[in-house]
Amino acid sequence: MIDNYLPILIFILVGILVGVGPLVIGYLLGPRRPDSEKDSPYECGFEAFETARLKFDVRYYLVAILFIVFDLEIAFLFPWALVLQELGIYAFWAMVVFLGILVVGFIYEWKKGALEWE
């Protein structure tokens, strides 16, 4: 079974090379004239007012946590989908319970407004 994964390993390494290659070509062929104006970060023509770090916005953290939970749900759904036909209606109701519990969580999120404006 794992013999099939060797091409994948090599492909990933080749993929990284496809990323490195253009950058190397760019370094070799392109000019290199660093200049303080050219290298300064873009801010509509002005100098940067403050540090580039943003104030911490907790909505991103919440989106990431909800993503983790739903990703785990998908991870549980994958084996179930494969054996559903074998296991029949009992597996279906088992998953309905599983999804039901998580749908309760989803409705809670919705009502609380965690899915709003971001």
Partner: protein, 344 residues
């Protein structure tokens, strides 16, 4: 170490096969950029590029040469390692996904039994390039853009994952070749019909994942310039561009494979009458992929941009309920073996 040497010719074989997949793919990516400009041009009642070469066909080559000659500007106080790492992290998964893609019956580089899962995992890794690019640029516009893109990608990845679970329930296997086999028959037995909502969700999520219009708010040229890759120039920018178009081709090819029967012919076996072109083959896969690639361009030319909160609402509040409900519907159909798709 002797075993290492014995493995070597196999490695050379694999490398040749990889080149056979990647070279046409990179060529297709380059000419997809040309096709985009031409198609969108004609949709806007103008001709696209037509100066470089006959009818502008050498345009991608000219673009590539131009980008190679440009300086890669690294902004002051930017994290140099991460700045150069970000394009590599973006393109490596976009390329590595093609290892499990079946181009015809049995014509696949790595016929693993968890193909679909592998594709989903690599798409998840793709979000890192965006986040690191934004952070490493030491520019608050880049960071803001990249955070928003990351949140958007993450929301639509859930919708895509659920849509793929639906396909899985219908097909009963994670192996991409087996999923195509499960759609045997004619155009009406392909998965687009029983899984119609999931098909729509998958296609739209695919557009949102690749940050294409109308979901390109974080890349919108008129808003935050170029978003997370505003500080990138020259070949570093070219790598991001390549990765984006490679991802678009991947989504188009996956839609063709998972929902439209891949290399299967739309006519049932009895009707093809021995004509080679009408039977199953790689050309059907190519045709369907081209159709979906055209749909990407069509969407860009037609629709205005969605606002960011509208995008997030669509991903969380509309797609997730639709996909969960439809997964359960398909599960019932599979368990009770409803004809005509699961009557066997």
């Amino acid at each position: 170490m002797i075993e290492l040497w014995n493995a070597l010719p196999l490695v050379i074989q694999i490398l040749l096969k990889i080149t056979a997949i990647l070279l046409p793919l990179l060529g297709m990516v380059a000419y997809y950029t040309y096709a985009e400009r031409k198609v969108i041009g004609y949709m806007q009642v103008r001709i696209g590029p037509n100066r470089v070469g006959w009818r502008g066909l050498l345009q991608p080559i000219a673009d590539a040469v131009k980008l190679m000659m440009k300086e890669i500007v690294i902004p002051t106080k930017a994290d140099k390692t991460l700045f150069l790492l970000a394009p590599m992290i973006t393109i490596a998964p976009a390329m590595a996904v093609w290892a499990v893609f079946p181009f015809d019956e049995g014509l696949v580089l790595a016929d693993i039994n968890a193909g679909l899962l592998y594709i989903l995992a690599l798409s998840s890794v793709g979000v890192y390039g965006v986040i690191i690019a934004g952070w490493a640029s030491n520019s608050r516009y880049a960071l803001l853009g990249s955070m928003r893109v990351a949140a958007q990608i993450v929301a639509y990845e859930i919708a895509m994952g659920f849509a793929l679970v639906g396909v899985l329930v219908a097909a009963g296997s994670l192996n991409l070749g087996a999923i195509v086999e499960a759609q045997q028959g004619n155009v009406l037995t392909w998965f687009w019909l029983p899984l119609l909502p999931l098909f729509g969700v998958y296609l739209i999520s695919g557009v949102a994942e690749t940050n294409r219009a109308p979901f390109d708010v974080a890349e919108g040229e008129s808003e935050i310039v170029a978003g997370f890759h505003v500080e990138y120039s020259g070949m570093a920018f070219a790598v991001f561009f390549l990765a984006e178009y490679a991802n678009m081709i991947l989504i188009a090819a996956l839609s063709a494979l998972l929902f439209m029967g891949g290399w299967l012919s739309p006519l049932p076996q009895g009707w093809t009458g021995g004509i080679w072109v009408l039977q199953d083959g790689f050309h059907w896969l190519l045709l369907k992929t081209f159709f979906f690639m055209f749909v990407f361009l069509w969407l860009r030319a037609t629709f205005p941009r969605y606002r960011y909160d509208q995008i997030m609402r669509l991903g969380w509040k509309v797609f997730i309920p639709i996909t969960i409900v439809w997964i359960l519907v398909v599960a019932l159909a599979v368990v009770y073996r409803l004809p005509p798709w699961w009557s066997a």
